[in-house]
Symmetry: C2
Subunit: 226 residues, 2 copies
């Protein structure tokens, strides 16, 4: 049960159908939602796990990615504060047949509306079902954007976009991320990332040290990304 | 209005909610659906076009693909007889923000349930709305499968899978398709396709002539694909 007014406010703002459902339905959300904490790198969801319910990011952020048998990864999307995640209610989505993993990229607090409640309301209320459907469409669009990057964009452009995004997430020009980690995000190999970073460095766009990557010329990086 | 019993049967079988909607609603589908014909290569849908409604493939098949600014393509999925397509009712899907094109890959006949009818029924009936949502999930899964191939699979495997699929679609071991066309389907370059086909030929898997590609050793091709 949510008692903190701030948490209820997040529910209200994120669930865009809030004003279209009954007082009883609103009460069911508030009475049954719980706060769950995850530490950095904890797995919030994987396809073989339980159908948890609807999750809303209260603090921190989540990363959804696909993992190959050989351990290669690609980031599909990220979820930030107040974003809702429907994949954790995957039993509602009969035709979602692919595997993916969602992990906490930082320490996170999540508002969870358990499946027992969300599933029931979803099958009885058109506004809630529409919300579910729009969430699936949003994630579909996110993945199509990644697809567009992977298929159509040159790797220098993809890396530039990634570094700028990462800088926005970390709120800094100094990025604490390994080449290995960047490769996993972009579905590429470490060697490819290192080679391209070396090229960026030779153009004075970044400075690569053993510990981190520093953005030296943001303007040039944005030109590459656009 | 559909008068042909066979067409009504397609409607019944494809619209999995058929037995859960009222007689009046069933009648609305039958009275308002129309048959539309497309010739090979006609564009059935693009993101900037009208919101047509729900389409069901009666005969022929459709190909959905993404197109880059520079004219590069990648096939996202194909729809065959009795498959329903919700992207042609894109105005229902508020958060679908990506561009794609759906074209007739052969001469096609389509059953179209106009948006004026489908949209209305979708927002008033939970079963129909659920069907819409499941269709989006299906296409999302299709696209994720392509993503998995593009990011994680080697190109020889992807080409082998494509040739086997194409052979199933054409119902023949002799494929009338250009290297350019294969490249467009796979989001690759013609040179890359030609080089890999040459390698397949050197292993006696295919025979490449000016006019077509013949599958000579299906077993080896399936080993490559698996």
């Amino acid at each position: 049960m949510l008692t903190n007014l701030n948490d209820i406010e997040i529910l209200r703002n994120t669930l865009t159908f809030w004003n279209q459902i009954s007082d009883e339905e609103q009460k069911m959300f508030i009475d049954n939602a719980i706060i769950v904490k995850y530490q950095k790198d904890n797995i919030v969801y994987n396809s073989s796990g339980d159908c948890k319910g609807l999750t809303i990011v209260k603090s921190g952020n989540l990363r959804a990615y696909m993992l190959s048998e050989s351990g290669k990864e690609i980031t599909l999307y990220r979820l930030f504060e107040n974003d809702a995640c429907i994949m954790t209610a995957n039993c509602l989505l009969k035709n979602i047949t692919f595997d993916m993993i969602i992990e906490a990229e930082k320490d996170c607090e999540i508002i969870l509306v358990p499946f027992s409640v969300y599933g029931m309301l979803n099958t009885s209320n058109l506004f809630i079902q529409d919300f579910t459907s729009q969430l699936v469409s949003s994630r579909f669009s996110d993945v199509m954007w990644v697809m567009e990057q992977v298929v159509f964009m040159s790797f220098d452009k993809r890396l530039a976009i990634f570094l700028l995004e990462q800088s926005a997430i970390e709120g800094s020009d100094i990025l604490n991320i390994t080449h290995e980690n960047i490769a996993k995000n972009l579905g590429s190999a470490r060697e490819v990332v290192s080679r391209m970073l070396k090229y960026f460095q030779s153009s004075d766009i970044v400075y690569v040290s053993r510990r981190n990557i520093e953005i030296k010329n943001r303007k040039k990086l944005m030109e590459l990304a656009s």
